[in-house]
Symmetry: C2
Subunit: 139 residues, 2 copies
DNA sequence: ATCGCACCTGTAGTAACTATAGGATCAAGG
DNA sequence: CCTTGATCCTATAGTTACTACAGGTGCGAT
């Protein structure tokens, strides 16, 4: 039973691998619904919170910005016709991911070339520094 | 003369494309040396500031974290034998870039597959949502 | 000399958390 | 049953890297 239906914040944190302070923050920021409370005022979470946090974690893991996650979760609740909008958000995100990959590839090429060059020219001047100083290192 | 030797903060901002408030912030955070002042207390920048800001901008553009930039600039000043340390920072950064690319590639694959699938299965359930809900979409 | 823009300092806001302080509650052991 | 220690509560502050504002002064152009 990895899914008991009554957990404390600490248990929820351990269950989901999300920092227990972060859980409070998620509640404050409206991304996680406020759970019922015990007589003494302690939060009592259940399966749906485990699921929602899992959703958030996976989405963040896929690089969706918190804003996007909020947007998706919001749609989820509204019920309208979420698929279209979710797809739209996902497609847009996919584009961002692709352009980020392209950027990083370029950076990678430049950096690796420079670091290699640094290994060759023993001392003279640092190729990395030259790159950062805006010099043309293509020689 | 794209490089006059006496510029105001606004001019420096325009010259480098860096927000003029950010220039103040860089000074406070120790990444940009404090310039001399005019009689009335206004900052008077010069070429070296233009260069340093350019350096910072390029490094940030290459994805170096501000911490790393500070580290590199610090070495620059200390003079020790910067090349080795700079190379080390750059190589480490390169590794990070590469692993980020790998992560993003995986995300890209998953997302694009899912979005495509979403285009096919007209309505039923949203494939993107199913992915985020942790279901196995590989079918 | 004056007008208005740019500058000054200092503070607050932003996002997304993380951490702390001081006090209350819960659950387990004696 | 009652104590004790872990966990929880709220509220506030710190973090990073900026951005924005407020209220007041300097600077350059007319």
């Amino acid at each position: 039973m990895t899914n008991p239906n009554s957990l404390s914040r600490g248990q929820l944190a351990r269950e989901t691998g999300i920092n227990s302070e972060t859980i409070l923050y998620y509640e404050k920021s409206g991304i996680l619904p406020a759970p019922p409370r015990s007589a003494g005022g302690h939060r009592v979470y259940n399966d749906t919170h485990v699921q929602t946090l899992g959703f958030i974690k996976r989405a963040r893991g896929l690089g969706f910005a918190p804003k996007e996650v909020r947007a998706i979760l919001g749609l989820h609740d509204e019920g309208d016709q979420p698929c279209e909008k979710v797809k739209q958000i996902a497609a847009q995100h996919l584009e961002q991911v692709r352009s980020k990959i392209a950027d990083l590839r370029q950076i990678e090429g430049l950096l690796s070339k420079t670091v290699d060059q640094c290994a060759v020219e023993t001392d003279d001047q640092c190729a990395v520094l030259e790159l950062l100083e805006g010099k043309d290192i293509s020689r």
